[in-house]
Symmetry: C2
Subunit: 312 residues, 2 copies
């Protein structure tokens, strides 16, 4: 397909953008837009509606509305990779079609994740039906492999079959398995074919870049973008391992707590906007005590959020 | 609440009604209505939109439409317990409100099931927010405990807290854990308070009835209702253990294959309507060879579907 050659692929550091909520649980588009602008300024791409965005806690209508608002606010579609996977294929088709028609760089697609132990044949059909229904050469699908949460792995065999059936459309993967052997095998086998492998956290950023990968899509990109982007651009420098070590320490400060509430609390702490703490059930915000401990832990790692006032 | 005393609770045998699809993957309301009528005739209640209904493979709009069509066709709301749980609370609220306003006997509610390892506090808030948003005293919630699929258990501690906060509204559970120790503990602790425990499969029907439970909600109710209903009504008879043994054998014939495609194939075999075989991805229909083997296995157990022509 000619589009494969002509359209540059999105690469680098992306973040599953946190979704800000009001106290009543409704999404806050104004803070969402400001957060996206801030991330773009930090050279971070926008994997809106990912796991850390609480995307599966949002209805299809809420996700469509929030994407429209970003585009209306001038956020460039070329920097967007919305999550569009869903248990129900009609939902995945609707969200994917909406993202493609809006000109988004790609979509990050979970497999249908309710049934466990399903076959590669069934998963192949799920992706194939979305692709056939959307029927748009501009579609770029990044396969979202996150078995610790979804419970439904995307095997190397499935990737191979999808790549063969839909060259150009199947564009890459986010590997959030936490299993370096799997990421490494994916890199070796498919990256040379132009299948872009993104690490699922910055813990594997340096290893992924050394393996020829495309970057990483990471939760903590929401709060610590500068240091992560710096390593992406300088991974061949002599201090790369030292940079990676520092990134790991900063991530560990968040990982002492449930990640999504911790990141939202960090933004609340750094901006003074306490409404950033809200999450939707089944998640629960950090307690005041946890938030104070998080603040101390972050200070100890020298963590800063540049221009945090832009988020307030 | 006065309604607790005045409205009789749904009990006995219910089935998560299989959802028939056309070859193009769209739901077939006509076969759905005929199947529901046939189940009602067999004294089986309708837990439409359960796991075995491929409910999470349907959009919210498709589920609303299918429920409307059942009601328009004269299926009694008092025999309906639709599944209304969802990852996104707005979806759970919409489906639950729709079911309650239609007069359904109850709703079978999955917890939000994307995030794993969530707290009881988070799950409590999820159920509480649906209850508060629906704000209808007629609501009867059956908590759907199916950790092998959902990955999100409903603990005894959570049941206790919900029962205390929402007496009358929290009406019971379907226990599909496959863990008799858990079912038994639930029966002992909560059935005396009027919290109705339904076994999640007929394998545990006799044990559940002996433990004071309310019945069972079982996949194979779709295809083998007569024998299951008979045991429900005669569990105190001398032949109850023999009946249970026979039920177990018949279920085992299905369980050699993926359950949902196997049940759909059984209906196709018994009715000659081969469009009954269709499933939505990520499920896959049985192969011709598997279907033939299933037919043989069922014949060996003396399996019959009475008045199967009503489904054709």
């Amino acid at each position: 397909m000619s589009t494969t050659q002509t359209t540059p692929r999105i690469k680098g550091i992306l973040s599953p953008v946190l979704t800000p909520f009001h106290a009543d649980g409704s999404p806050d588009p104004d803070r969402f837009i400001r957060h996206c602008r801030w991330l773009i300024d930090q050279d971070v791409g926008l994997a809106v509606f990912g796991t850390n965005s609480e995307a599966n806690s949002l209805s299809v209508a809420e996700k469509r509305d929030m994407l429209e608002r970003l585009l209306d606010a001038g956020i460039p579609a070329a920097r967007l990779m919305p999550g569009t996977g869903a248990c129900a294929l009609p939902d995945a088709v609707e969200l994917t079609r909406h993202a493609v028609r809006a000109g988004c760089a790609g979509v990050l697609m979970l497999p249908p994740f309710y049934y466990k132990g399903v076959s590669d044949e069934g998963l192949f059909r799920a992706f194939a039906q979305v692709i056939d229904a959307v029927a748009d050469d501009r579609l770029r699908i990044y396969l979202y492999h996150i078995p610790p949460v979804s419970g439904v792995p995307i095997t190397l065999t499935l990737i191979e079959r999808l790549l063969k059936a839909f060259p150009g459309i199947i564009a890459g993967t986010k590997d959030s398995s936490g299993d370096w052997a799997h990421t490494s095998a994916t890199l070796e086998r498919f990256q040379p074919q132009g299948f872009d492998v993104f690490a699922g956290s910055e813990n594997y950023l340096l290893a992924t870049m050394r393996g020829g990968g495309a970057g990483c899509i990471t939760a903590t990109g929401n709060v610590n973008p500068g240091a992560i982007v710096r390593l992406y651009h300088s991974w061949q420098n002599a201090d790369a391992d030292a940079q990676q070590k520092k990134l790991d320490e900063q991530r560990a400060a968040f990982a002492k707590f449930p990640m999504i509430p911790a990141m939202k609390s960090a933004i609340a702490l750094k901006t003074g906007r306490m409404d950033w703490v809200h999450v939707r059930p089944p998640l629960v915000e950090l307690s005041d005590e946890q938030r104070a401990l998080l603040g101390q832990a972050l200070d100890q790692t020298g963590f800063v959020m540049p221009n945090a006032h832009q988020l307030a």
